[in-house]
């Protein structure tokens, strides 16, 4: 029981880290065609995420792998019921990845523009669909005790899930813009700064509306009513996003970026805490809910995986932090790779 609960929150933690880490890559991807005015600015944007995006993406592979290892039934039912949205996410990620690497290989304008479009679509699609997917999970999915899905693609499209999608995109765009303020200077930095200021009120509204909507569209608040101290995570989210505004005002961009990371983290955990112990609730009958307890692996597998994760994830974080520190300086025009 305890082991399953630990794993539930580790599962949430890995998704939260993934959203923080790849979130700013997605954000910058989304804005490349719009705020890069010339080729040099666009290149700087690619180079701002160039050294780290690939390592960031592995958090998704780990989150997926851990879902498989610790909660095989969730992995099976979640990914087969959400077949088409997940495929769209994966195709988006494919285009995003190759766009970054392929773009520099030819000089023609059409070539570069094509990859910019792939980069933008390949970043927007996963960002939006992760939001849509998680909102739908919070809400519940029509599937039965055999994991058979009673719905179609339209089932996933509803006001609450669209709100979730928009929230994710806004979070990631702010996160990406803040990364740009750190990694660039001059005009591009100014534009990124202005973008944060411009979307900040909308994002704050989106967070509040999403939380309010969750009250009606989901059962997330049941856990909070049982244990009001969990409301602290919402407090964190709001405090962090207010801090972003203050830090940007003082041009303390690193701090603003960290505050944005905490915002994303808290927003994810708002959902994760509310969900517990459910991982994939069924709309048809509460007895079909897949939970941390009825969908988990054996105690042996959970123990082995816990040891692996406790041993290696700190190491991974260690060398990823080293890589971030190595590339902490602003993108140098003379050392552009992409």
């Amino acid at each position: 029981m305890v082991l399953e609960t630990i794993w539930f929150f580790l599962w949430g933690l890995l998704w939260a880290i993934y959203f923080v880490a790849d979130g700013f890559d997605f954000g910058i991807g989304c804005m490349i065609p719009f705020i890069g005015d010339n080729e040099l600015e666009k290149r700087k944007m690619y180079n701002a995420i160039g050294p780290v995006w690939d390592g960031n993406e592995v958090w998704l592979i780990t989150a997926g792998g851990v879902t498989f290892a610790a909660f095989p039934l969730v992995y099976a039912v979640m990914f087969s019921t959400m077949y088409t949205p997940l495929m769209l996410i994966l195709f988006g990620l494919i285009f995003r990845g190759v766009a970054i690497e392929f773009r520099e290989n030819e000089d023609s304008k059409a070539w570069k523009l094509s990859w910019d479009i792939c980069m933008c679509a390949g970043s927007f699609l996963p960002a939006f669909l992760f939001g849509v997917a998680f909102a739908n999970i919070f809400k519940g999915i029509p599937f039965d005790c055999n994991g058979i899905f009673y719905g179609d693609l339209l089932t996933f499209i509803n006001p609450y899930s669209l709100l979730g999608g928009i929230l994710f995109v806004l979070l990631f765009i702010m996160h990406g813009a803040l990364w740009l303020t750190i990694k660039t200077d001059g005009n591009l930095q100014q534009k990124a700064n202005d973008l944060v200021l411009k979307i900040w009120p909308t994002l704050l509204t989106a967070i509040l509306v999403f939380v309010a909507a969750s009250r009606y569209a989901t059962d997330l608040f049941a856990n909070y009513q049982k244990q009001p101290m969990f409301y602290i995570v919402l407090l964190f989210a709001v405090a962090a996003i207010l801090a972003v505004r203050i830090f940007v005002h003082h041009q303390l961009y690193w701090r603003a970026w960290f505050a944005s990371a905490i915002t994303i983290f808290s927003c994810t955990f708002f959902g994760i805490i509310g969900l517990y112990p459910n991982m994939f609730p069924s709309l048809i009958d509460p007895s079909y809910h897949l939970t941390a307890h009825n969908a988990s692996s054996s105690p042996l597998t959970l123990t082995i995986m816990l040891i692996v994760v406790l041993l290696f994830v700190p190491v991974v974080i260690g060398y990823q932090v080293w890589a971030y520190i190595l590339f902490k300086d602003k993108v140098d025009e003379k050392e552009l790779v992409y």
Partner: protein, 433 residues
Amino acid sequence: MDVLFLSRLQFAAATLFHFLFVPLTLGLSFLVAYMETKYARTGDEMYLKMTKFWGKLLIINFVMGVVTGITLEFQFGTNWSRYSAFVGDVFGPLLAIEATVAFFLESTLVGVWIFGWNKISKWAHATVMWLIAISSSISALWILVANAWMQHPVGYTIRDGRAELTDLSAAIFSKFAILEFLHTISSGYILSAFFVMGICSYHLLKKQNIEFFARSFKIALVFGLIFSFFEAIEGDIHGADVAVTQPAKMAAMECHWETKSKAPVFLFAWPDEENERNSIEIGAIPGLLSFLAFKNFDAEVIGLKEFPKDERPNVLITSMAFKIMVGLGTLFCLLTLTGWFLRNRLLEYPLYLKIMLFSIPLPYIAASMGWIVTEVGRQPWIVYGLMKTQDAVSPVSTIQVFTSLAAFILVYGLLGVIGFYLIAKNASKGPVA
């Protein structure tokens, strides 16, 4: 066309495409690491140029491997949910450990290597490439342990209607897993050697950058020679193990119908699966199959007829793929051995260089054929003897899978063309000063 057929087709297409890029990453990373170490040690600019030239090809190839790998991890859930639910307790950890222990390091360090030229010392930079090379092979280890478990499940028990892990080390250190790992990474090393030798041949034939490409050729040649012969010996041991663990696959590989001693190998055989015999048999070598499988010409080898018709793999596909793989493997030994004798006089043998240039695709074909033997030969089982493929597929609609399969073919087709075009373009451009 049903969900089962479409899902199998999709997984086959996605895996084979993914494996067009993985082997080159496995081997070329070691070659680049060696070149960069030579540079760090000697300061010879030629080695730096080599590192950058081959490194550039490695990076283009690497990203294709990464993006096509992610879809595979998730396809177990999307298309094979019943399989995932049944074996997740054993199979899931292997994939999760791969990402945590190996793939993280590989992906993080690739960024450091590409961008880190002026940030870290040349020794540190070379070390980064060694770590990329080692972690990509360790990554392969976990994936192949997972696949080997599907071929020869060990270390589990059936409890509450699913397979549960009882002994992780039994799965990791199973003989089958070790043999499959060695066989697969060696194929990657051979492929990389032929890739490098082929591109060198192209430039040597054109008489450009002779010193650069002659030296690169020799580095790759040694690598290719060692692993071509290692692969032949290892393949023999691997085959003998398959004869014990997967007798139906072995029988299909050799079109062997009747259980008998002194079982022959045919140089060519065309199976007639309807009538349970071969319609064409050419060049039977009596006793050779018995010998290869059990190191005894008189040993009895189980024939296909021992298995019910619905528990036999497709004999034609399995046997043809096997023959092509073995034939090509033999050719790689011959070509690298020839290269060894010509290594210091390559320019005098344009015919050899031409053959090496046109040999670039051959290890790709051999590797794909190897996977076809492995996977088609395991049918109708998804986990050998434990779960049938038809019981493993997700309860999703045909139209969903049809659409995603079409998208896979379209997107992978397009990216494959662009990816190989960029590799060819950068390869033919030669080193930049």
